[in-house]
Symmetry: C2
Subunit: 224 residues, 2 copies
DNA sequence: TAGTCATTCAATCAATAACTTGACTGATTG
DNA sequence: CAATCAGTCAAGTTATTGATTGAATGACTA
């Protein structure tokens, strides 16, 4: 252990171990949407409060999340290192080489959306010439914590009731929490079935934000 | 577990867990140099044969390495997914947020080489106009398995004896196994003390190869 | 085909990790 | 200042992991 090389590898391994737990990755995805209390995160992931708290502390020790106190609540948010980049690399590696992931993705997601997603670059271009409407299908509170500028927020649960707000003559691009967030897949499937021209954004909100692109905050629920 | 999202996170976590072990990361770095037998890898890492074998099988199941039989030996090499990219992301994250890593790096490596390393792009440019000599300080057998084109191979152990082969009027750029490989740090320190104009390449051989750049094979030990 | 070599497998043990439960702490509120 | 609320801590249980040992396999070699 006195060998500096061994020690460095051990440091790297320690970080990898922190990501080596499904529940922690899920907590991390939720924290990446914006600040959240421990209770909320526990709720969102279905973990017990104590368990979520402990996982969050593990994530914090590794710098993947930061926390601050707000009254009697403790709020956790994404850390400021290149966390999203690391998760992206993990995802890309998994997609490349992991038959199981490909299997789950193709059996579940691909069935819902067989078409190619829209890339961030393509979206930026299309937003520029106004040929597209952005749809954020996350719950309203997550939207309020931050969203792509100009996005229309209709939580997936409300979609049926609020169809009138969607254009029928312009293409829609839907996004949610991340590349594997189910909401946008299902939104695309549902709306496409109703005849809408809709695609899915490849990334979610955290990836957009991590790329340094501007984000909107509570208030602007409409295109400018 | 029947939830597809949970299942995907679990898959990701499983991969991260495989990287969550220092010995495996070290094996991976050695396998990234080129094909190696189990015995050799065990030797290089100081692990027992059975232990190395078992770790290699874990790495193989996750696709980080591939193996093939050659007579009675089993040869392991890097897998063909974006492994180096993932390790790079892990390294960058670690450097950003991990005080311990920064501590080890600065106390050990920075003492040896306080100057900025040369980036791959810079090197490519400099190689183009011939203003630099490339030095590979890895052992000869690793060099033989693949190296940057036109590199001169002087294993670190032989450096003192073979100083005559190095130019005194041209800058030297040294590299070895990867960003944290000790050999190139020490080579730079040793040669700089003797008055040579020498810098360290930021990456090692695996990163170069993973970037899709051409690699040389056994035979061409000299600049073209 | 018996012997040898390189690797893997199986059994075992100690160490670590995940989750639960219930007690504890710190900040607000009556 | 007692009560409550949000989160953390500590102890215990069970499961998983890493390492060791020795036996078993599979492929060459005399």
């Amino acid at each position: 252990m006195t060998n500096p090389k061994t020690e460095i590898f051990e440091q790297f391994a320690e970080l990898a171990r922190v990501l080596g737990q499904g529940n922690r990755l899920e907590l991390l995805e939720h924290a990446a949407q914006g600040e959240r209390s421990v209770e909320r995160l526990a709720q969102l992931t279905g973990l017990s409060l104590a368990n979520a708290s402990q996982h969050l502390q593990v994530l914090r020790r590794a710098g993947f999340v930061r926390s601050r106190r707000d009254g009697k609540r403790m709020l956790y948010r994404l850390g400021d290192g290149p966390v999203i980049e690391l998760l992206g690399a993990l995802r890309r590696y998994a997609e490349h080489s992991r038959a199981e992931v490909r299997g789950i993705v193709s059996s579940y997601f691909d069935r819902l959306d067989s078409l190619e997603p829209v890339s961030r670059d393509t979206l930026l271009q299309r937003l520029g010439d106004g040929s597209v409407v952005l749809l954020d299908v996350r719950p309203q509170d997550e939207f309020a914590l931050g969203h792509l500028p100009g996005a229309l927020n209709i939580p997936f649960a409300d979609l049926e009731r609020r169809l009138a707000e969607l254009p029928t003559d312009t293409q829609i691009v839907a996004y949610c929490r991340g590349p594997y967030c189910v909401l946008s897949f299902e939104a695309v499937a549902a709306l496409r079935a109703k005849g809408y021209d809709i695609k899915r954004l490849e990334d979610g909100f955290p990836e957009w934000k991590a790329a340094g692109l501007p984000v909107g905050v509570a208030g602007d629920h409409r295109l400018p």
